[in-house]
Symmetry: C2
Subunit: 332 residues, 2 copies
């Protein structure tokens, strides 16, 4: 592998000068610079990242912490974040964590060993030590899709968004509305709260038995959730609010298998607006999270707090939007 020394030797200059050229520093004779640049291109020289990151005490990389079972929304989100991070000159390291103690611990270890410039969390970590570590190290971080006090975050007003989704159902005349929700995630609680508040605004009681909490946010879990609801109350509902689009797809699948038509018999509202929601049968009515903007803001926010370590970033609460498509209809 060709190194900075090789280049230096070939042009008869010192490594320092070559380093200056590479880093675009001043105080280099334009002619020498040109020659060095030419040689760099010619030899295909590329700086060794480990060496550079050792001496500079930073890695030019940011870590993205994401559940190993990330859903499609999260997948789309991290692609966007990755793209923006790249435009700021960072590389991206993914840390897939399972939601158990050991995995979070391992993730922490890796993060330490990597000399990260910053961290983005797309997953609520259970272990409080995790956050303490970030804070103690003064490691720039931002949370996205959820909020954590003391770490800046980018998200939507979950509760209000859920409220609006359920209001849409209410406006369509639905009164018996179930919810399929994710367990163990904070936004699940917030979305449930919005759901209850909307019902309350229509004078409907808070009925916990109308919510089922499932372990993951996938279609598979959605099926499980809907079956459970059917078991609990039979067909005592005319609408379902699902905490994610994937959950909604599973819900619709079960309904369909039971011979219940969507939206003729039962209306379904999702949350996220992932790509296929616009292609599925029926197209899904859902609450769109502003994916592009969330990704952009997240990357920007992190970049800013890396560049200016003691600037305090404030949370960005972005606008969501109810997208009405085919899975909801006036109550029959």
């Amino acid at each position: 592998m060709v190194s900075i020394k090789d280049i230096a030797k070939q042009v008869g200059m010192s490594p320092s000068t070559v380093s200056r050229v590479i880093n675009g520093k001043k105080y280099v004779n334009p002619e020498k610079r040109a020659e060095i640049l030419r040689l760099i291109k010619e030899t295909g020289y590329v700086p060794n990242k480990a060496a550079r990151s050792m001496v500079m005490q930073r890695s030019f990389s940011v870590g993205i912490v994401i559940p190993d079972t990330f859903n499609m929304f999260q997948r789309q989100l991290f692609s966007i974040i990755e793209r923006h991070l790249e435009s700021f000159g960072y590389h991206t390291l993914f840390f897939f964590v399972k939601s158990d103690e050991a995995s979070e611990e391992e993730c922490l270890r890796r993060m330490k060993s990597e000399q990260l410039d910053g961290v983005i969390l797309i997953q609520e970590i259970k272990n409080p030590r995790f956050y303490s570590y970030l804070l103690d190290m003064g490691l720039p971080s931002v949370c996205t899709t959820f909020a954590y006090d003391r770490i800046p975050s980018v998200h939507v007003d979950e509760e209000q968004a859920a409220f609006d989704g359920v209001m849409h159902l209410l406006n369509l005349g639905h009164r018996e509305i179930n919810m399929v929700n994710g367990a163990g995630v904070n936004f699940g609680l917030q979305r449930a709260e919005g759901y209850f508040k909307a019902l309350a605004s229509a004078g409907l009681p808070r009925d916990e038995s109308r919510i089922v909490y499932v372990r993951s946010l996938t279609a598979e879990s959605g099926m499980y959730g809907m079956r459970e609801l059917l078991l609990r109350g039979g067909r005592n509902f005319s609408a379902v609010f699902a905490a994610t689009d994937e959950l909604a797809m599973g819900t619709i699948r079960v309904l369909r298998d039971e011979g219940i038509r969507v939206p003729e018999d039962v209306s379904v509202v999702g949350f996220d607006d992932i790509e296929i929601s616009n292609y599925s049968i029926p197209r899904l009515t859902t609450i769109r999270q502003p994916l592009l903007e969330m990704g952009e803001r997240t990357a920007l926010m992190l970049h800013r707090s890396i560049v200016n370590r003691d600037a305090v970033e404030s949370d960005a609460v972005l606008p969501y939007r109810l997208i009405i498509r085919e899975s909801t209809a006036r109550v029959g």
Copy 2:
């Protein structure tokens, strides 16, 4: 950040000894070892990866090259590969590449700078220099989901799989079968070949106008492709073979919008068997690629060629399987 020196000082030993303990080498007094281990735990010491990778001339990381617009099958695949790689002790770096020259070039640069232990390609790279680089550097690599001469690969027999998919349609009595295919990917060509061979085996002519090539492998592109086919020949078909499940979803969407029922009016076969294919309406008949096994074999193969640099790995051609669900039916 606590370093190996700090640990050494605190136990009154040399850094070498500490290093030996960390790396589980022999020749260290059990008591000292225990004490050092204790201190490591106590201080939360974690080795600096950059330093280690500089002196050892390797990074303990493998790069996964994947299209920036990766589809769901690829997403599922890389999750699995990542998991296995981790179990072998590697970290995973993702290289998202667009399919343009500049992006491939940039990817190459990054790969050089990272001192990778190995590379996995989930994407056919256009630029031959890319492969040359891998080969010249003696960098262990494996291709997955496609084959490249001179680099070991893990894949299914694309042509035969496509053949079987189309045979299923033929067996159902279909004779007018269209294909929605991905442009610019090698396996697209192979799947087309299987499609033609199946048709030929039923005495049907090779009609290029029945294939449409679309730019990506998404549902969006699938819609585009189906519309184009409709434009070309109207309803001159009773079945469609789509080169990926996502393409199939888009295809079905357009059909539905045209009032054409699946499978009553038109049968659709996909390829991949991604998760939602089992939840979509209708559930998709498709050719399953052995995701788990492909991921495992890919990781294992790479690991072996890293450990044993001059062992020659042979291609792994894994068994696919036709999964018959609801999107295909006997011709009406």
